[in-house]
Structures are given as structure tokens and as C-alpha cells.
């Protein structure tokens, strides 16, 4: 059973190349982003996530919404164990696969096939597992013979196809997705969507950050609305989206 438990988790990080004294005033006036403060050593500290407590249980499909800098990516990195909480406790059961940023890890000088192999190894697959899946991945990319060429010859859309096909190949318990339906042409988006639905169905827990209301309404049974690194609302998707778009909602008192 996959499950995620957060007990009043906060994530704060220092920013080293900023002089706190000179930038403090302007920083504090910023509307977006986490709260910025200065610590005792005059370093600039950003609290990306603030005292978050919630439980995500088996079968949950969570949509993650919020303005730019509200902490969506930090939240996903926290769930991916990339960020460790500065305070509080996080408890995750199940194998996690992050699809946060597809591009890093693609080596431009290597061919498509070689990249499939590296990525598979990085994600913890064995040689035989990769060999078994290579054909399937190759079909999904729809790149044909281009896979034998160095990826530096690819267009950006082709790169997305490759990266997505490789990443979607692993079958995790918990799937984390950060805004990936950006590029790619119509036909690929269609295949990718089918692939995603397949992947979503196989995963026990999905947490998906996106700006597309349609996707959230279609897939998610719950929605988490973040604002300035804190939970503004967690629960019913309709209410969360309404709140996010600034509409007056009757159930607002509930949050």
C-alpha cells in the first residue's frame, strides 16, 4: 500500500549568492514566491514550504495548483526525497518515480538508444529489463531510425518525445509529475495522453502539478492549492479550482 504522510513539514533554504542587506527590502515586497527573511548570519532564507500536514493515501490522484512560486515544484521535490524537510517529518511508503524535469540526463552526443539505456539505468532498471522494454520505448517515441543518431540532431519536440517515452516506462507506486505537456505536436500529445492515462492507472498515487484545469478535472479526485508555501486548501477539486481562480465559494469557510 502506497501512502504519504506529512507532519508539519517545512522546507527552508538559504540563498548564498544574494547579499541580504542590499536586497532585503525589495525582496520582502515581492508578491509571489515563498516568504523571504534574513537569518542570524545575515543570510537570505526562503521558506519554500511552510508547516504542511496532510495525508495522501492509496488510490489518490492529487492535482497540485498554485501561482508561480507558490511551492508546487518544491512540494514535488520534497515528495521525491530530493529536498529533505528542515522541520517536521515526512513518511513515504512505496516506490517513487519523479517526472519533474525531463531534459537533464539526456546526453546530446549519444544516440537515442544509448540515452534510453542510460536513463533506464539511472532509474534503477537492470540491463535485461531495459533490453526488454527498448522496443516498446522506441515505438512510443515514434522517432524510427532517428534513434540511431546522436540526440544533438533532434529538434526540441523530438527530444521531448524521447524523454517522455523513457520516463514513462517505469512502473512506480507513486508518480510525481511537474507540468510536462508543454511541447510536442498534436499527434504526440494524443499518444502521450493515452500513455499517461495508462501510467496513471497503474500507479497507486499520482501527484500532478499543472496549469491545465482540464487535466485536473479529468484525472484528479483531490486537489491541493498552495499559496506562498502553505496549504490554502486540500480536498475537493471543484472547490480548489474555484478558490484558485479567485471566485467566491460558499464552502470557503471549510478551509
Amino acid at each position: 500500500m502506497a501512502a504519504i504522510n506529512l507532519h508539519s513539514v517545512s522546507v527552508e533554504f538559504p540563498v548564498y549568492n544574494v547579499n541580504a542587506r542590499s536586497l532585503k527590502k525589495e525582496f520582502l515586497r515581492l508578491a509571489t514566491g515563498g516568504t523571504v527573511r534574513e537569518d542570524e548570519n545575515h543570510r537570505v532564507i526562503i521558506s519554500a514550504l511552510n508547516d504542511i500536514s496532510l495525508t495522501i493515501s492509496h488510490g489518490d490522484r492529487i492535482g497540485l495548483v498554485g501561482h508561480n512560486g507558490s511551492g508546487k515544484s518544491s512540494f514535488l521535490r520534497l515528495l521525491a526525497s530530493i529536498y529533505e524537510p528542515t522541520r517536521g517529518k515526512i513518511d513515504i511508503q512505496g516506490h517513487i518515480s519523479p517526472m519533474l524535469d525531463l531534459m537533464p540526463g539526456i546526453e546530446m552526443e549519444l544516440t537515442g538508444y544509448e540515452n534510453i539505456f542510460i536513463r533506464g539505468t539511472l532509474l534503477g532498471l537492470t540491463r535485461t529489463e531495459i533490453n526488454k522494454q527498448t522496443q516498446e520505448i522506441a515505438d512510443l517515441t515514434g522517432l524510427g531510425d532517428f534513434l540511431t543518431m546522436p540526440t544533438r540532431t533532434y529538434s526540441s519536440g523530438m527530444l521531448v518525445r524521447l524523454a517522455f517515452a523513457i520516463s514513462s516506462q517505469i512502473k512506480p507506486d507513486i508518480l510525481l509529475i511537474d507540468e510536462i505537456f508543454g511541447t510536442g505536436d498534436a499527434s504526440f500529445i494524443q499518444t502521450a495522453k493515452e500513455r499517461m492515462i495508462n501510467l496513471l492507472d497503474q500507479s497507486s498515487i499520482v501527484v500532478m502539478a499543472t496549469h491545465s484545469d482540464g487535466l485536473i478535472k479529468e484525472f484528479c479526485n483531490k486537489t491541493l492549492l498552495l499559496e506562498g508555501g502553505s496549504v490554502k486548501y486540500f480536498g475537493d477539486t471543484e472547490t480548489a479550482l474555484a478558490l484558485y481562480h479567485g471566485e467566491e465559494v460558499l464552502t470557503e469557510t471549510a478551509s
Binding site: 548564498y16 530530493i82 486540500f234
Partner: protein
């Protein structure tokens, strides 16, 4: 409307307060650091593959490929050996093999130091994207330099043929294997420290690069400790870098490292492992925020 959590309606408050006790955190950090180190070793396939590709990639579009490493090493060491034996009026028979073997050894150690300082900061993209043990990135660089060393080592073969009276192939040559193992262990432990410092303070990389140049002249590589007066010789011989260089140089010439060299190397290794573990346990969770 099944689950709406406000931060106030927390649950299992006991668990929360339990885990905020400081001694628990320290113990937990030590456990996580150890887990990272062990996972790093278990995932050897990952770092061996990426370090191998790293070498391959660098020479992808050149016809000789990685053997450019060997060729450029041969050009450097052979010309240095010839030039300096004439400049210093030393017997070519003795000096040439000594310098070439010393340079092979030094190149391995110095590139380990400079590359490992950037080990974590250069892998930023991957570290922020996939959760892998931090030690994997250290292994990746350390293994890459060992692979390069095996390309370089070909340079010694003509020397063994031409200067066979000084540089011999015998049972002592096999000591190369434990020697390389000790170098590798030290690369991981000191590399972890250097990598963390390099990630936190970006100027360190430049400082290390200049210091390693100075160390090259201070360490007996181009010169032998025998040219020093007896009382100064001990200082040169106790130099940990000299001892590590000797672990490779002596077997390459068919000799055994001295007992003193082995003792100093062992001491350095133990200190390195202990210190790096303490540092890693203390700072591991912060590394991501330094990148």
C-alpha cells in the same frame, strides 16, 4: 468533502514531538549517511556506466578516441623525462622510468583531487531531478579517473622494454592492484569532503587547482627524495601525497613501497574515512540547498 486538513488539525502529535528530539535527529542523520554510502556501492552499475560513457563521450568524434589520452600522456612524460635528465644531469637510465611512473601516478591523484572538488556541483542537474545517493556522483568521477589511468598506463610499456634493467616486471607489479584500491578508497572519502566544500564554496575549486600545482613541485615526482640532505628527507617522505604516489610508482617500476610509506598511507586512509563520515552525516541533508 472528505478530507480537508488545516495545519492545526494535526494527528499523531506524539510522533511529531518524538522526532523533534535533537539526539534522535543526529542518530537518524548518521543512519541516512551510512545508507547513502552503502546504496552508492550497491548501485555500482549506475556510476560505472556513466563514468565509462563520460570517457567515451569526450572523444566521440575523434578517430583515435580515448587513445588520445595515452598519446598526450606519452608526449608529456617522454619529453619531460628526456629534457629534465639533461637539465639536471641525471642518468637517463634511472631518471626516465622514475619520472614517467611518477607522472602516471601523480596525474591520477591530482585529477582525482581537482575533479572531485566539482563532483557534486557539476552533477547539479541530475541531483535536483532524481533522488540517487550522493556518493554515486563521487564514485562516478573517481571511477572515470581510474578508467583514464588504465589508458595512461600503456605509456609505461615501452619504458619497461627499453629500461628493463631499472624498471622490471615481476611479482611486485601486482602490488598495483592494492595500490589502486587504496587510492580509490581515499578518492571516495576525501572526494566526498572536497565535493561538499566545492558545492558550498565555489571559490574552493580555483584554490584547489592552484594548490595542486604547488603540491606537484613540493612532492618528489620530478625529483627524488635522495637529493635532499638526510634530515630534510624525512619531511618529504612523510608527505601523504608522496606516499600515495609511491603506492603506484613503486609497483610500476617493479619495486615494493617502503613500510613507512604503507603506514602513512594507512593512517591517511583511516583518518579520511572517519572524517568524511562525520562531515557527511552532519551536512548531507543540506547539500541539495548548496547546489
Amino acid at each position: 468533502m472528505e478530507s480537508i486538513f488545516s495545519p492545526a488539525t494535526s494527528y499523531e502529535t506524539d510522533t511529531v514531538s518524538d522526532n523533534n528530539k535533537p539526539f534522535n535527529i543526529k542518530k537518524e542523520q548518521r543512519r541516512l549517511a551510512l545508507k547513502d554510502i552503502i546504496d552508492g556501492i550497491i548501485k555500482w552499475r549506475v556510476w560505472l556506466l556513466i563514468s565509462y560513457l563520460d570517457v567515451k563521450l569526450r572523444y566521440r568524434r575523434s578517430s583515435l578516441g580515448p587513445f588520445w589520452i595515452t598519446i598526450s600522456m606519452a608526449i608529456t612524460t617522454y619529453s619531460m623525462g628526456y629534457l629534465y635528465s639533461h637539465l639536471f644531469h641525471i642518468n637517463l637510465q634511472i631518471y626516465f622510468p622514475y619520472l614517467v611512473a611518477g607522472m602516471l601516478s601523480w596525474t591520477l591523484i591530482s585529477t582525482q583531487v581537482t575533479d572531485l572538488t566539482e563532483a557534486l556541483s557539476s552533477s547539479e542537474g541530475l541531483i535536483k531531478q532524481i533522488k540517487l545517493p550522493y556518493t554515486i556522483y563521487i564514485h562516478k568521477i573517481a571511477a572515470r579517473n581510474i578508467i583514464i589511468f588504465f589508458h595512461n598506463i600503456i605509456v609505461i610499456i615501452p619504458i619497461l622494454a627499453i629500461f628493463h634493467e631499472v624498471a622490471k616486471v615481476n611479482f611486485n607489479t601486482l602490488l598495483l592492484i592494492p595500490g589502486l584500491f587504496v587510492i580509490y578508497v581515499n578518492s571516495i572519502s576525501f572526494g566526498l569532503i572536497l565535493g561538499m566544500i566545492g558545492a558550498r564554496y565555489r571559490d574552493i575549486v580555483q584554490i584547489i587547482k592552484s594548490l595542486i600545482q604547488v603540491a606537484f613541485f613540493l612532492t618528489p615526482i620530478m625529483w627524488s627524495p635522495d637529493i635532499l640532505p638526510a634530515k630534510d628527507r624525512l619531511i618529504a617522505v612523510l608527505n601523504p601525497l608522496y606516499c600515495l604516489v609511491e603506492l603506484i610508482r613503486a609497483p610500476l617500476l617493479g619495486m615494493t613501497p617502503t613500510l613507512l610509506t604503507i603506514c602513512v598511507s594507512a593512517l591517511v586512509t583511516v583518518i579520511g574515512i572517519a572524517y568524511s563520515f562525520v562531515m557527511f552525516a552532519k551536512h548531507r541533508s543540506r547539500i541539495i540547498y548548496w547546489l
